[in-house]
Amino acid sequence: MDKHKILLVDDSSTMRKILRTCLQQALGDGFCALEAADGASALQQLREHPEVCLVLSDLNMPDMDGIAMLEAIRASATAARIPVVMVSAESSQSRRASALDAGADGYIAKPFTVDSVLLALSPFLAKIDAQ
């Protein structure tokens, strides 16, 4: 069976590794993590891997930030329906609102526990499992 592909977008390699560890705990070996360090690289990954089923993305990134990337995904013909969950150290109401307005499906505030990540992702992971 093909592994589910999840794209992790963060300019911090540390945060990408932490998210990968969280997913490992939830999905075991049943997923494959793709990684990108900024919005432009993430869009490139989505073009190369249209089978990606979930995107976890940082909000503040150099060059193309999370919101700009999200808007590009939602405008894309092939990737518009992929769930995107934003991850950010900023959890103010205005930042959450701007992410959701841009089309985010969820928002995880840093710092987080493994449980809180799994709770936020559970609707999407359940769909992935059902596929």
Binding site: S12, T14, K17, K110, P111, F112
Partner: protein
């Protein structure tokens, strides 16, 4: 009592440091698998003994917006690696590259600054975080340091500091200083007046204060300060008594300090009063006024004994005008101990705010 002044101002340095401590606790307890022991709490920038071997890496995350500042994480080599291993869950045998250590430290600073922003600043305006960057020690000179916390890790140490850009806008600390000076001057005026003497040079100082209050009122849109300035003018013109002016000033001082919202019902009043008395006792026992660094293990141990024993001598009340800093400092240091005692959960506001009840408010809790 409404707390209108604080809501429009940056918290004072001591309160901001309390928020920083809470933020560090949250980040380290969830994202950094290491034991971090708070060993120093410093408002004025005294030397950090734990980092005497030298700062190897300094990560800065700035925030911009209605106020600007930064959180700085300064580590010695062992401390930086310890934090990176704690975040990446790396074993001691696993070698980390310098890039991995830098990235982890930057992300740690990012989360501490983000949490501080969420806890302390978001209610005061619009702010955004800048990406982490690394600096040479001492490079962040253009900011005013508000305080630092030093943690001893399993290996190494880290100093976590909060800085603010110097701005023309008054902060809570400035306003508190201003009101303290006003109260002192008014008392002196009153003493001279009762002795049948003229104000003399004090008239000029009073005029300057009036100007400062008006400027602060203009910048902050605070009706209370306008009233104060008007009261000063009326008193100087002999249109109202000194006692009345003193009352107005004291009322403003009480407003400036956060009220003890921590005591919402009679059921928790005992705890609140007990904590406050511990603060008072510590202030007196340790002569904290004027100290910039606490003997943390000693002070917390003393607080713990008092909390457990519940034998608290009658010591009167903390003078909110003369001893505010001491109360704030102890409140910050005590916050972790109060957590352990199961009392902090009933408070609902940071302990750093619990220092400033007016005397009549304390008596009302009896």
């Amino acid at each position: 009592m409404p707390n209108r002044l604080i809501g429009t101002l940056l918290p004072s340095r001591a309160v901001l440091l309390g928020f920083l401590k809470d933020s560090v606790d949250e980040v380290f307890s969830t994202m950094v698998a290491t034991v971090a022991q708070l060993v120093d709490c410093d408002l004025d920038g005294a030397g950090h003994r734990e980092l005497s071997a030298g700062v190897a890496l300094e990560a800065v995350v700035e925030f911009e917006g209605d106020h600007a500042g930064a959180v700085v994480l300064a580590c010695n080599r062992d401390g930086a690696e310890e934090i990176a291993r704690g975040m990446l869950l790396s074993g001691v045998d696993e070698e980390l590259s310098p890039e991995e250590v830098r990235d982890a430290l930057g992300e740690c600073a990012n989360m501490v600054c983000g949490t501080l922003k969420n806890r302390a600043l978001d209610g005061l305006g619009d702010f955004r975080l800048c990406p982490p960057r690394f600096v040479q020690e001492g490079e962040v000179q253009r900011l005013q340091r508000c305080g630092s916390l030093v943690y001893r890790l399993c290996n190494g140490a880290v100093s976590i500091e909060v800085w603010l850009f110097e701005t023309a806008a008054p902060k809570a600390q400035d306003l508190e200083d201003l009101l303290c000076r006003s109260l002192g001057l008014v008392g002196e005026f009153d003493r001279l007046r009762r002795g049948g003497q003229q104000g003399g040079d004090l008239d000029g100082v009073l005029g300057e204060l009036r100007g400062e209050l008006r400027e602060a009122a203009r910048q902050l849109h605070l009706a209370e300060l306008e009233e104060l300035a008007a009261a000063l003018e009326q008193t100087a013109a002999g249109q109202q008594g000194w006692d009345q002016l003193q009352e107005t000033l004291q009322r403003s001082m009480d407003l400036l300090h956060a009220p003890l919202e921590a005591i919402p019902s009679p059921g928790t009043a005992g705890d609140g009063k007990r904590i406050f008395r511990v603060l008072i006792d510590l202030e007196e026992d340790y002569e904290l006024q004027g100290r910039s660094t606490l003997d943390l293990p000693g002070d917390v141990a003393c607080a713990g004994e008092m909390l457990d024993g519940l034998v608290l001598p009658e010591t009167g009340s903390l003078d909110p005008v003369g001893q505010p800093e001491a109360g704030k400092m102890v409140a910050i240091v005590l916050s972790s101990d109060l957590d352990a005692a199961g009392i902090a959960a009933t408070l609902g506001v940071p302990m750093g705010r619990v220092h400033a009840l007016a005397r009549d408010e304390i008596e009302a809790l009896s």
